[in-house]
Amino acid sequence: MSAARSPSPEPEPDVSALPDSRSTVRPSLGRAPLVAVLGLVLAACTGATTPRPTIPPDATGSLLPATTATVPPTGSPAPAFPVSLTDDEGTTVALQKEPQKIVSLTPAETEVLFAIGAGDRVVGKVEDTAKFPPEADSVPVVGTFSGVDVEKIVGLGTDLVIAGGSGGTQPEAIQKLRSLKIPVLVVYAPDVTSVYQDIELTGDAVGKSEAADALVVRIQADFDAVAAATAGVSKPRVFYETGDQPSIYGIADDSVYAQMIGLAGGTPITTGSATNWEMPTEKLITADPQLIILGDSAYGVTADAVAKRAGWAGMTAVKNGAIVPIDDIPVTRPGPRLGDGLRLLVAAIHPELHLAVPSGAPAENPSQNPYGG
């Protein structure tokens, strides 16, 4: 949260029920003890690298009413520079004046910058296979999955880099950019609430605090609409497939996927681990999904192919033909389209609600009530 802006005097009471609620403190500070705890866990060689708040997937559905509060933070109107911000890794980033040459190293941040009206100042971006927003098409690519072109970023005269945490951007590249005195803001949103905070942080960093607040309100309105529509619905068991090569991948326990499915009125079937995304078929058969959502449909996975997999025929979802494709990117990209993503999930899980879906959504599930009965 910006030092230049006074945060809303009282945190929304119901939002504060969230584990990582919006408050006067950036989430990164709250995660500091987690780092220490994880250190011990890691010493035992068990895995996770990133501190992230734990949200039991089965509890995420009940989080839904918590987001109904839509009171926008009434921050000071004119964001003043210089400003000192704390990013999601707890690093203090000082910006002397409003950044004019911004590089975005996560696709979500590119979307955020364009959505809050700072798109004309984006001089470089990370490669985005989804090519969104279209206005960002002409922005030079300065980073890909395999690396960041630090030289190009320097050559562009960049005065702010927004990078991804939790390995989203190579930590070495962040370190190198900072050693060259280029301010780097690291964002990482492990859950929906953090997405709001990152949007506001970005707004503060580029002098667009009000537009960022408005965007957050807009996304929250989407979440509220979904909350109202899905109130009291039955929550079918949903398996969200994230990949089928070389084996079947689902979703990890406290991932944003699990939270989103919960908020969309489903019960997510997770792998049972916070770091392992691989889903053993035996486990999936035992969990017996009532709906299978193909997040990997963009990679050519079809309902027919899923139904033909060995051992899958007995699952309720396969028997009822409840296998639907989805556009994975809005569902998981922690940016302005998160509300769209949630609506897509509701359309897949609860087609009977006839909730409005964003344009450009994939074909609707033909079956009106896929869960039998």
């Binding site: 890691l42 395999s146 690396g147 630090v150 390995g167 370190q175 060259l180």
Partner: protein, 358 residues
Amino acid sequence: MAVGQDVLARGRTAVRWPFHRRPLPLAVIGAAALGAALLAAVGLGSVTVAPGDTLAILAHRLFLLDLPRTWSPTAETIVWDLRLPRAIEAAVVGLGLAVAGTTFQGLLRNPLADPYVLGTASGAALGAAIAVLLPVRVEILGFGLLQLLAFVGAIAAVTLVYRLSRVTGGSPLTSLLLTGYALGSLLAAALAMAMYLSGAALRQIFSYLLGSFDNASWAELGGAVPVILIASALILVRARSLNGLLLGEDAAAHLGVDVRRERAILLGLASLITAAAVSVSGLIGFVGLVIPHVVRMLVGPNARVVLPLAAIGGAILMVVADLVARSLGEIPVGVITAVIGAPFFLMLLRRVQRGYEL
């Protein structure tokens, strides 16, 4: 002249080495090529800096010439803080790997030996993976936790291999090689497990395994370069022992080489070079294996001649490979070393096929 050189030459009269009698011109050509490669590496990149500006920046910073500032501060940052340390790091790592490769091949009398043969690569990789998985940040002398643990891992692995090989039966060389292979496999299994458990950090481990000079900085150079250069110079001083060992243990002993002691020292120095190299650059294959062979094919087996020429050759190949790698958009440099080096090596192998052996 080195003891053993005549013996080596006499035993292998069937082989013709094109530069056997004139290694000095070859060294001069090599040094000039290295200079040209370094200049190209500093002058070229994803941002265009005028050649005049590049030279002026170098003259200004290297020789402290008081030139009129025709260049932008951005260009100076790119040339001085990004490209030059990277080019130097590539050169020194290439130099080190080639010297270490020459040493290991001679010590183990095995043409397939390379700097990684005694477990250094697996040890370094496991150390790097553990560093990636640990959520702490440390920095000592420009070395991050990853570099430190990679260095420690490499040294620990090769020390363990050496110790274990001493307590096994069988000839010392065979024991060393087989122990290295066995421990390397064990460490590779641990690495695979670490990668499996690493989740989002997998990419970082993977990019270490592929090798890169992307993170080169003056601070990092300050840690690794002195180690590599000093250890390489110390090996060069001991070229006589290396020549002796190449003839076999008995012959070496007859020539007055303290076989066990010299072997341990050379092994230690070559491992130190390898550990310092892999800690800053990751695992870059091929250079340490092939450059020594290329040089031997050109000048014959005398280590006194092979070592300095291999050093120059390794530096050239690595600088050029890194330049190509980053021109093509940060392709792994190990891919390029192999793509450039393998055809050249095969061509040489065809020409000197008669009787070439280590």
